[in-house]
């Protein structure tokens, strides 16, 4: 496991900001509006990346939880916690944006649709994952329990993703990763891809910074490969 580096943070910040800017221009100005849904379809460029990032975060929780149980290294637990927090936030964002998108397209804020319901349930599973950390005052015990729930909770993730395939649903089926190779307009696909990359980079950055904050809470600052902070030197100057 490599130590976090401030130089990597800087690169990630620049990359995420520039990709976001290009994605914003592509999504709002270059990509055409949907022939059926009109301008409301542009919410796709935030809704889909938020959902993608949530999946990626939950996969990170799974991997980091397994790694923690195998190594008992708290750095893995901090990665799992940071990814879990971001995943919960991104799931909530995807649900909220989906609801806003659904209002003009479906005519309602909420429907009892399998994708919507399973996504809310996924949010509840990972909210439970974060709550488990408070079961005990002991840091190691809390990490162990959270790791167990982080592994058990991932069972629902494939069900949420494939819910639009398995059930008759109002929600649009997967377009980019569709098994039946549905074609997405080139400019739309480019804007979506850029937005996904921007969200991924920004999410990676957020997780890294949160991991560092959690390390400070554990009184175990993670090693940084940047130069040490120089002491403030005040020099007195004689009056002319």
């Amino acid at each position: 496991m490599t130590a976090p580096s401030r130089a990597t943070d800087r690169v990630l910040t620049v990359a995420a900001a520039s990709t976001s800017l290009v994605a914003l221009v592509m999504a709002l100005a270059v990509a055409p509006p949907d022939a059926v849904q009109g301008q409301a379809q542009r919410l796709m460029y935030v809704h889909v990346p938020a959902a993608w990032l949530a999946y990626a975060c939950f996969a990170t929780v799974l991997v980091a939880s397994v790694a923690y149980l195998l190594t008992r290294d708290l750095r893995w637990d901090r990665r799992a916690q940071a990814a879990g927090e971001l995943g919960v936030g991104m799931t909530a964002l995807a649900i909220a944006l989906g609801s806003i998108w659904g209002r003009p397209v479906w005519g309602t804020w909420w429907v009892w649709d399998p994708r919507l319901v399973t996504t809310v349930v996924l949010l509840l599973v990972y909210a439970g994952y974060l709550s488990v950390r408070g079961l005990s005052d002991d840091r190691g015990t809390g990490a162990r329990r959270a790791a167990a729930v982080g592994i058990l909770g991932f069972v629902n993730v494939p069900i949420v993703h494939f819910s639009v395939v398995w059930w008759r649903t109002l929600h649009q089926p997967a377009t980019v990763l569709s098994p039946d190779q549905t074609v997405l307009d080139g400019q739309m696909a480019t804007a979506l891809l850029l937005a996904v990359v921007a969200f991924t980079l920004a999410g990676w950055l957020v997780v890294r910074r949160r991991v560092r904050a959690l390390a400070l809470l554990d009184h175990e600052p993670e090693i940084l490969d940047s130069e040490p902070v120089r002491p403030l030197v005040v020099t007195a100057q004689a009056q002319p």
Binding site: G128, S131, G134, R144, A148
Partner: protein, 215 residues
């Protein structure tokens, strides 16, 4: 003592404790009866509505019963301060399997009871595929209840969290169980999903259980 003998000893002890105290029976059976009667009042009284909601009622009741049963997984030992003794004298694997067998039996009986009540009161006899759901759905939920029951019972705070953990994670059992209990629904995909769910939860719960037993 061989692992099989340890499993047998733990399971037998669980059944003896239940026979002596009737903890699970007394808390689960009246709850299920109340649930079915109240669901009938809420969804009925039109026979067509009751028939439509029967399958969902069965699996919602079983899912919530998994929370009740989950509280008993280590609850008795924690109350009697014998949990550490049990943990120290039995290997994690056999302890998990022994506890799981007891929870599976309790949930299986709960499923049988609620199915019978719904079949009679809702006038909705379940199809044959409901048996598959009953076997594998309760196995998956029992795995979940055993692992999460120990996890929450051995905590010092937030014991009420068990419901918030089990109910969302039991979603696949609720969905597949409801479909398999509904007449005229193609059973094969749901049966595969239910069996996969049970297999995955059984494996994962068994794998993480030793970590939950550590101090």
């Amino acid at each position: 003592m061989s692992p099989a003998a340890q499993v047998f000893a733990v399971a037998r002890r669980e059944f003896d404790v239940e026979r002596a105290g009737r903890e699970v029976t007394v808390t689960t059976a009246p709850y299920i009866a109340a649930f079915v009667v109240l669901a009938g009042l809420a969804f009925g009284p039109a026979p067509s509505e009751l028939a439509r909601t029967a399958a969902g009622t069965v699996w919602l009741a079983v899912l919530v019963a998994a929370v009740t049963v989950g509280h008993s997984v280590a609850g008795v030992e924690i109350a009697e301060q014998s949990w550490d003794l049990l943990r120290g004298s039995v290997d994690p694997g056999p302890l998990f399997v022994g506890k799981l067998l007891a929870v599976w039996a309790a949930l299986g009986l709960a499923w049988l009871l609620v199915s019978a009540l719904v079949a009679v009161l809702f006038a909705a006899p379940p199809p044959g595929s409901a048996v598959w759901a009953g076997v594998f759905g309760t196995l998956g939920l029992a795995s979940l209840s055993t692992a999460l029951g120990v996890l929450v019972a051995t905590g010092t705070r937030r014991r009420g969290l068990l419901a918030a953990l089990i109910l969302p994670a039991g979603l696949p059992a609720l969905l597949a169980g409801t479909q398999l209990t509904t007449p005229d629904v193609p059973a094969l995909p749901w049966a595969v999903m239910m069996a996969l769910y049970a297999a995955v939860l059984l494996t994962v719960s068994w794998a993480v259980f030793p970590a939950l037993l550590e101090e």
